[in-house]
Structure formats: C-alpha cells, structure tokens
C-alpha cells in the first residue's frame, strides 16, 4: 500500500491522526497533514483505510499494491 496526500485539499481536520496516529500527524503551524509512513506496515493498513475514508477533504489517496 502506498499513501499520497494532497496538501492543498487538507483542511487540517486531524481526523486522519485520530484514526491512525502511527501514520499521520499534523504540522504545528497550519495543521496540514504530515505523512509519517508513506508505505505502512501490514498491521496498520485497516487504520489507514479508515483514515482515508474519514478525511473530510478527501485529501488522502491509497494505492494498493
């Protein structure tokens, strides 16, 4: 699985961090999403899918490989 984020779309909601704190964080200055792990380990994937789905700005895309 590979994660890409669209920083322009991100509204700083932080829903992704609530869903998958091991994989996402937010920048201090403007809250924009920070990707900690672009290719997360197997056990984190369900949480990442959840994070992508709850992002209210649809800023997170996943490609399953």
């Amino acid at each position: 699985m590979k994660i890409t984020v669209d920083e322009d779309k991100c509204c700083g909601a932080g829903s992704c961090v609530l869903a998958a704190p091991e994989v996402f964080d937010q920048r201090d200055e403007d809250g924009v999403v920070l990707l900690l792990e672009a290719e997360p380990a197997e056990h984190l994937r369900p949480a990442v899918r959840e994070a992508a789905n709850v992002c209210p700005a649809a800023a997170i895309s996943l490609s399953e490989a």
Binding site: C11, G12, A13, G14, A19, D30, G31, N53, V54, A58
Partner: protein, 391 residues
C-alpha cells in the same frame, strides 16, 4: 436483521458515497445502488464556497473520487434522476423518470436545500449556493459584478463574503446577529470575525434581518431590512440556512420533523436508515435528537450506518466538528459551543490571531475552538472532549 443482499442509497454525495464505500470496506459483497438527482459524479461541497468560487480550483478537483476508484466500488450509479417517493414496506423508491428501485435496505442521504426569500426564484441576479452548478453560476456573475449583497450572517454567508472580496467585488454582509456566526461561536470569536471582515473591506450591516428583496422588473436591485433601510446591489446571494430534503418522503410513513427522525442507530424504520445533513437521530450521550450539517458528520454517520446495516447495532455518538476558512483565518470547531458557555483561551493569543479556546458549561468542557491552530485544537479536543467520541 440479516445482511441485506441489495442496498439502495438515495443521494449520491458525501454521505451516500461514504456509506457505499464503508459497506465495501467492511466486506459487503451484495448489490449496491446509488441514486442521485444531480448529473455529476459525487463531489465535495466545502470547496464550493472557497476554492471553486474563488477560481483556484477547476470544478473536477472537487470530485470526491476518481473514475477508477468509483468503478472499483462495483456499485450501480443512477444519476440525474430524483427519488420522488418511498414505499417503506416494500423498500422501493420511485424516481422522476419512472424507475422503481427495490432493495432490502435503504439509506436516505438526500441532504438539505437552501432556504429562500419569497419571490427570489423569479428574479435575475439572485443566487443560492449548494451545488456545483450554483457555485459556477455565482462565480460567472461575480466576475461581472461590482457589488454583492450577502443575505445571511452564518458560516456560508461569511465564507461567500470573504471569497467575493478576494475577487475584488464590493461586498455587503447583512444579517440579524451582532457579528458573523455570533450564535455559533459566542462573542469572542465572532467579534474577531467581524473585525477581520471589516478590515478586509466587507461592509457589515448587522443587527437587522432582511425583510424582502427589491427589484426593477425581473432584475434584483438589493434588499430591504426590517429597519426600513434599503441596500443596493447588482447581485444577491441568499444564505439563510437550509431545510432537509424530505419532501419526497411525505407519504412514506416515516417520522419527519426537521429531518428524517431516527433512533440512536440512525434507523428510521426496519431496513431504512438515514445519514448526513438529512438525518435527525437520537444522540444517546447528549440525550436528545440532533441533526448536524457538516462534512465530517456526513462521513462518520455513513460509517455508523454501514456498520449497523451489517448488524453492528451500535449507537452513533460523535463529537460534532466543523471548520471554516475566511480570509486568512482557518477555524476548527470541535464539540458544541453552546451560547452562554464560559470561554477560556488555553493556547496562543487572540490578538495575534492564533489561539485555542475552551468552552465550558457548568464546569464541564463542551467545545474547543481553534483559530489558525488546527493541530493544537485537535489535541485539546482529545484532552477535554473524551466522552462522546466516535471511537
């Protein structure tokens, strides 16, 4: 209820799509149909009053998913056809074009429609902003106009005023409150918003409601306030809030009252659920019926509905959350900022326009507001608003 073999979703936007996606993620392999009255593939509404209206984004950037991702969902999209009635007992939706769609379970996700002023439909130069087509029509007119009047001092009106100023248009913002979003945010934050708008050249005509639009023939010329004052404008946007789109459900036997009334599981009747702006459900922890009009709720409620459709039997008890962008201010609002709450700045400084405020009632934190401090606001939410979470 056993797992349905066909789920039909009415309303193919944020909540409808999220329901379908959540069902698939949770392993649902049955038939899936999304019915929407708009001709477009699902798109997002928050950018409409911001990036799309400003022209910073081409309309397709607001699409929620690419074609490929939608195809992979393995759902049937019936677009450009409106649901006109629901036969609840037979779980059948009849559409404007004469289709009869039958399913084992139905999800109502038809959202809300903007409130209007009497007679505005017959006037040129008057807009509402709900759909992509509304946003493009308003933008086209804004590029030609000199002066815009925004009727409504809530979130949408304030955002439109800010975006229009960014396009160089003269803007008057009219509404009954003392400051934009005063009832939603309380005096501190709404006072700062009023300052921000004034500094950026928005003329605030607050404290008086708009009574009627004025016109010359079929062309709008402005509006008359309850004080008798007349405001002139070439273009008017009416942003007076919205009403749930339940008109088509009148004969369904469902309980309707400011939305589709649901139990704590977001269930309106056996096999019939509601999600998003249209749903008014019983929030167990708050102990009351609640209807939320925000983007996060559309997704989170859809997740709850999908889980319950597959037998989870879980109550939906979210912490409400919304954001708004106006000029250089990005506000994040977690929880419920009841009027009269006690407000304490817990981080940053309002004078520097970067802060987090905590809202308390009877000594208990009820909400957190971040002003250009999204991450810190989220951390305070996690610290103070632990009860009532979705997970």
């Amino acid at each position: 209820m056993s797992t349905p073999s066909h789920v039909l979703v009415a309303g193919a936007s944020a909540a409808g799509l999220a329901t379908a996606e959540a069902l698939r993620r949770k392993g649902y392999t049955g038939e899936l149909t999304l019915l929407g009255d708009e001709p477009h593939v699902p798109y997002d509404r928050p950018p409409l009053s911001k990036q799309v209206l400003a022209g910073a984004w081409q309309p397709d950037r607001a699409h929620l998913r690419t074609r490929e991702v939608l195809d992979a969902l393995d759902a049937r999209f019936v677009l450009g056809d409106a649901a006109v009635s629901l036969d609840t007992a037979n779980r059948t939706i009849h559409t404007a074009s004469g289709r009869a769609l039958r399913a084992d379970a139905i999800v109502l996700a038809t959202g809300v429609r903007p409130r209007t002023l009497p007679g505005q439909e017959n006037l040129r130069g008057v807009h509402v902003l709900r759909s992509l087509d509304d946003a493009l029509a308003l933008r086209a007119d804004l590029l030609r106009a000199r002066r815009l009047l925004v009727v409504g001092d809530g979130v949408l009106g304030a955002e439109i005023a800010a975006t229009a100023r960014g396009l160089g248009v003269e803007v008057i913002l009219a509404g009954p409150q003392s400051a934009p979003l005063a009832t939603q945010l309380g005096p501190l934050a709404s006072g700062l918003l009023a300052e921000l708008h004034a500094e950026n050249g928005v003329k605030l005509r607050l404290g008086a409601g708009v009574e009627a639009l004025t016109a010359d023939g079929d062309r709008v010329t402005g509006a008359r306030l309850s004080t008798g004052e007349v405001l002139d404008a070439e273009l008017v946007v009416v942003a007076l809030g919205a009403v749930p789109r339940t008109d088509w459900l009148e004969d369904s036997g469902l309980v309707l009252g400011n939305g589709v009334v649901c139990d704590s599981r977001c269930r309106a009747a056996e096999g019939v659920y509601a999600a998003g702006d249209v749903a008014r459900w019983h929030h167990e922890r708050l102990g009351s019926l609640l209807r939320l009009e925000n983007r996060t709720n559309a997704t989170e409620q859809a997740l709850a509905v999908a889980a319950n459709l597959l037998g989870a039997d879980q109550p939906y008890t979210p912490i409400p959350y919304f954001w708004t962008d106006q000029f250089d201010a990005k506000l994040q609002i977690h929880g419920v900022l009841t009027p009269g709450a006690e407000v304490t700045v817990v981080e940053g400084d309002p004078a520097g326009r970067r802060f987090v405020a905590r809202y308390e009632r009877h000594g208990k934190a009820v909400g957190v507001l971040g002003w250009n401090m999204p991450k810190q606001a989220r951390l305070h939410r996690q610290q103070h608003l632990t009860t009532g979470g979705t997970r």
